[in-house]
């Protein structure tokens, strides 16, 4: 009887001890989370290396997972295209006519540009080279706007390169692994892109806010920007070349100017990292 009592007391004590240990573990891990947040904020090389190596190692799994989703999306798209074939054709014919006229204008301007450059000993911009890759992870949401592309340092992707689709600017390369690279989207809260707005070519910075409508800051008060104005990169700071299409001004309310990017995030399947031969403030060499 005494023995049973003693052992139950011992068990109770063991249980209480375990409870204390568990609570301690919780507190320690919560503390570790906060410590990691500070460490990540400091943006050390160590954190980046951990990120890229983990992204590299799960890339094959992500690649396999992303394929059925992509082909399903394609199937849906095909059906939709079939149903709207007639209207699509008519629209394309009209588009074609309009574009032919533009082509004539562009040819004329090109010839004129060449002639003027020859007159002025103009040094042409270096030729751009591309690395195209599939998007294997796309994380939106409230806390981060970035994606992983299936091409890394071995394929010629470098930190700071502009990432584009045919539609416009997607973001910039933030981290480069062996097989994958992380692209910081122009909508991410950490993204700051020097841009020009409208026909007045007003300089501003486009700042992401983790929403799908980034905001223009440092825009002069009398800029006279109206919805529909085009937004292109300004080439300031040498990060990106001048004139990459970014989006259009979506709204101007109480001095807050928001931009609708050209890029449709849900359609991103293949993106291109573009090397313009620029080594601006965001390039790898500047940071390392």
């Amino acid at each position: 009887m005494v023995l049973v009592k003693q052992s139950s007391v011992a068990l109770n004590r063991l249980g209480a001890l375990r409870g204390v240990m568990q609570r301690f573990a919780l507190l320690a891990l919560v503390g570790a989370s906060f410590a990691l947040m500070l460490l990540g904020k400091a943006d050390t090389v160590l954190v980046e290396r951990a990120r890229t190596s983990i992204a590299d190692s799960v890339a094959p799994v992500l690649d396999v997972l992303s394929r059925p989703a992509a082909s399903l999306a394609q199937a849906v798209e095909t059906v939709r295209e079939f149903t709207a074939l007639h209207e699509e054709n008519q629209r394309l014919r009209a588009d074609n006519e309009r574009l032919m006229r533009w082509q004539m204008v562009a040819r004329k301007l090109e010839a004129e540009n060449e002639a003027l450059r020859a007159l002025q000993n103009f040094r042409p911009e270096p030729e751009a080279s591309f690395v195209s890759a599939r998007v294997v992870a796309d994380t939106g949401g409230a806390f981060a706007h970035s994606l992983l592309m299936l091409a890394g340092g071995g394929d010629g992707v470098r930190k700071g390169q502009a990432v584009m689709t045919g539609e416009g600017l997607v973001g910039r390369v933030a981290e480069v692994g062996r097989r994958t690279s992380r692209v910081l989207l122009i909508t991410d809260i950490n993204s700051r892109i020097p841009v020009m707005v409208g026909e007045g070519r007003q300089r501003a910075i486009m700042a992401g806010e983790n929403t799908d409508r980034p905001r223009l800051i440092y825009l002069p008060a009398n800029a006279g920007v109206v919805p529909g104005d085009l937004v292109v990169t300004s080439g300031a700071a040498g990060a990106f070349p001048q004139g990459l299409p970014v989006g259009v001004v979506a709204s101007v309310e109480d001095g807050v100017v928001r931009v609708a990017p050209y890029v449709q995030r849900d359609r991103l399947e293949v993106v291109q990292a573009v090397d313009y031969g620029l080594s601006g403030i965001l390039s790898g060499t500047a940071l390392e």
Partner: protein, 171 residues
């Protein structure tokens, strides 16, 4: 009778099911779906996974697992390091501290409790991320994600219950 080596390995594999399934949910959430609108907001699948296992198999979803899974998610999604780990830790901590409440409760009650736990965990994450960035991040997106996650809980919960029944059994 002592279990054979084979039996022990089998049990170990079954005990890893919650962790591995939640890991898969994290990868799934990061996969591009190409659904209009779904890239801007997505349900927090990892929160559902961790909550489910903390309620039904607390022995197989401890603080260490929750922390590791959250950290992995942060690294994969590019979210501020540690913020996802904090979210999952808070969710696990809430469930474990109220284990008496969760014992033998109906599905509706655990769903309702999930609404509370997810609200607190997501709120804490929003606060932490806003502090890190120095500005309040968009609350509307967080709210939409929260509602999506809540709506998806019954479906995913059913799937996880099947997994528990067939993969873990009583191991």
């Amino acid at each position: 009778m002592r279990p054979t080596l084979w039996q022990r390995m089998d049990t170990m594999a079954r005990h890893m099911v919650p962790f591995v399934l939640t890991l898969l949910l994290i990868l799934l959430a990061a996969t591009p779906t190409h659904l209009p609108g779904m890239v801007r907001v997505g349900p927090m699948l990892s929160l559902i996974g961790v909550y489910y296992w903390a309620v039904y198999r607390p022995d197989l979803m401890g603080y260490g697992s929750a922390f590791t899974l959250g950290l992995f998610e942060d690294i994969l999604t590019g979210a501020p390091l540690g913020s996802g780990a904090l979210t999952l830790l808070i969710a696990t901590g809430l469930v474990v501290s109220q284990y008496k409440f969760f014992k033998n409760k109906s599905f509706a009650v655990t769903w309702w409790a999930f609404a509370v736990v997810a609200f607190l965990a997501t709120g804490a994450r929003w606060l932490a991320v806003s502090l890190i960035y120095g500005v309040g991040t968009d609350l509307q997106t967080v709210a939409v994600e929260y509602m999506l996650t809540l709506a998806l809980y019954p479906v995913l919960g059913w799937v996880l219950a099947r997994a528990q029944l067939y993969l873990i059994k009583d191991a």
